[in-house]
């Protein structure tokens, strides 16, 4: 008599402490091993692209914030760069420097959330709070500049909404001075912790060929070994004036492209962002940030695809303009949307507890998956 074994379908439903938002994962299990993962999305769909067809270009900017709400500055930057190319205007240099500083601070804040929540998913609750303590300082910097902590509406077409606060540079230098030893403490506590390495090394290995074929970008692609970063390879704004490195995954604790590599690439990227901010603060010129804002925004007929390096990957805006004050079509290529497809390939053959580890290392934000 043989024992009948069935596959169990387990639902990690839309409400779950670890799925980083409203994501529904349908796992097909054989015992504790996973045979298939089907993600179901759409719980946070807010019709961003349909709204864009009836709003004017400046009115769209607050809506772009709300897609990836943890990296709002980078969202705005992508959209604004596209529209500025359509209008063929050039912004003053001070504006470019401030945009770069804000984008890099936002990158650090977003990676702190990713790292903190990843640790919390694995069970280490303390690094989560340490990361959020440092993120509070960054949010304070944003608050004194534009008044908002999470969703800013700061980067406008042709310029910025406010100039830097007079204390901003001094507070940023203080933040950098306090952040570097905190980063070392975080590394001691979490990154090189044996239990953490056992949970994340050799889990969810993404080979490079698969990554490129699935359209994966951002820290996930860099962790698989390819040194591809839009700030260097398709440079926008004034990133070519700064000297920074692109960290890639080297398989230090396991294989190249496993979850530990994805996590470690993010930690290293925070260090590189600090370098960029330090250089930008040294070189920033004076000027007027609101001078270049055009009174009427009516681009010529045409289309453009502008892309920026979001903390999660490549964020692209395909804007088609028909000559009027509202765009004809805006399509957003969200990095988390594309990165989430590869979850099925990553999770095969692992256990249920590993799904959480893998999902945390992919680092999705449901706001931009669903738009």
């Amino acid at each position: 008599m043989s024992v009948r074994t069935e596959e169990m379908v387990l639902n990690m439903g839309p409400q779950h402490p670890s799925t980083h938002g409203v994501l529904r994962l349908e796992l097909t299990l054989e015992g504790e091993i996973i045979t298939k993962v089907v993600p179901h999305i759409g719980y946070l769909h807010r019709c961003f692209e349909k709204h864009c067809e009836v709003m004017t270009y400046p009115q769209i900017i607050p809506y772009t914030d709300r897609m990836d709400y943890l990296a709002a500055m980078c969202n705005e930057l992508g959209f604004v760069i596209g529209v500025e190319k359509l209008l063929a205007i050039q912004v003053p240099e001070r504006v470019e420097y401030i945009r770069v500083i804000m984008a890099e601070l936002q990158r650090i804040a977003s990676h702190l959330v990713a790292i903190g929540t990843y640790g919390a998913d694995i069970g280490a609750f303390t690094p989560f709070l340490y990361c959020f303590r440092d993120r509070e300082k960054i949010l304070n910097l944003f608050e004194i500049t534009c008044g908002a902590r999470l969703l800013y509406n700061y980067i406008w077409i042709g310029g910025l909404s406010h100039d830097l606060h007079p204390d901003f540079i001094r507070l940023t230098k203080e933040f950098i001075r306090e952040f570097k030893p905190n980063l070392r403490e975080l590394n001691n506590l979490l990154t090189y912790n044996k239990i953490f390495i056992d949970r994340t090394a050799n889990i969810g290995i993404l080979p490079l060929e698969t990554a490129i074929n699935y359209g994966v970008t951002g820290p996930m692609l860099r962790a698989s070994g390819l040194r591809w970063d839009l700030r260097k390879d398709d440079s926008y704004s004034i990133y070519n004036k700064f000297d920074f490195e692109i960290p890639i995954g080297e398989g230090k604790m396991g294989t190249i492209g496993d979850s530990w590599d994805r996590y470690f690439v993010r930690v290293r990227e925070m260090e590189e962002s600090i370098k960029i901010i330090e250089q930008a603060i040294e070189q920033i010129p004076d000027g007027d940030v609101t001078a270049g804002i055009p009174k009427r925004i009516k681009p010529v007929v045409g289309h453009i695809y502008s892309r920026v390096e979001n903390p999660r990957g490549e964020l692209g805006y395909f804007i088609i303009s028909d000559g009027s004050a509202t765009p004809f079509r805006v399509k957003v290529r969200a990095p988390s949307f594309v990165n989430l497809q590869v979850l099925d390939v990553l999770c095969r053959g692992h256990m249920v507890a590993d799904v959480i580890a893998i999902l945390g290392s992919v680092d999705i934000v449901l706001g931009e998956v669903d738009r």
């Binding site: 759409g42 019709c47 074929n213 892309r307 594309v338």
Partner: protein, 176 residues
């Protein structure tokens, strides 16, 4: 790194039977129009050719061109008959750093395009989204179903320009 003219020349040489339309004077990116029933062969060639190696599909957008004739249907709503829906494929080669934009035109009333999921797996969800929001049917797609709207949404495809919201969905009032 190849320029737009070189890539178009390679394409025309490879597929003499296909009538490509090369649009090189549009703002701000030139594109090539490919017929919808040949798009998967073209894409396979673009990916595998040794000089081109477009190994990454960056973006796949569907656009409602809104170029048919405006009429009214039975309930008196404005709808559009005829015209086209377009699909824009942004391709990039990580090895050679060149990019290209392809465009596919298909009928608005019965849109159907061959799927490129077998060439690049990232097209899977992009095409599902185009199906969900525009109604474009992708032949040979492994799993074509709605992705952002609820699975039982039977009131059409929301991102078309002549889309009307229904009154009620499963007992809930839709517009508020």
């Amino acid at each position: 790194m190849k320029s737009f003219e070189e890539i178009s020349k390679l394409l025309i040489n490879q597929f003499p039977s296909i009538n490509f339309e090369i649009k090189s004077d549009v703002k701000f990116e030139p594109y090539i129009i490919v017929p919808p029933n040949q798009i998967d062969n073209v894409c396979l060639f673009l990916r595998d050719n040794i000089d081109l190696q477009f190994d990454s599909l960056v973006n796949l957008s569907a656009v409602d061109d809104f170029n048919g004739e405006k009429t009214k249907d039975e309930q008196g709503n404005d709808i559009m008959k005829g015209g086209t829906l377009s699909l824009y494929y942004h391709l990039e080669s990580i090895k050679y750093r060149h990019k290209i934009l392809l465009r596919v035109l298909t009928d608005r009333d019965n849109p159907s395009v061959l799927s490129v999921t077998s060439v690049w797996n990232s097209a899977n969800w992009h095409e599902r989204e185009a199906f969900d929001l525009f109604g474009i049917n992708f032949i040979n797609h492994p799993d074509l179903r709605r992705i952002l709207m609820p699975y039982d949404w039977e009131f059409g495809h929301p991102l078309r320009k002549d889309y009307q919201n229904p009154e009620f969905y499963q007992g809930m009032k839709v517009p508020y």
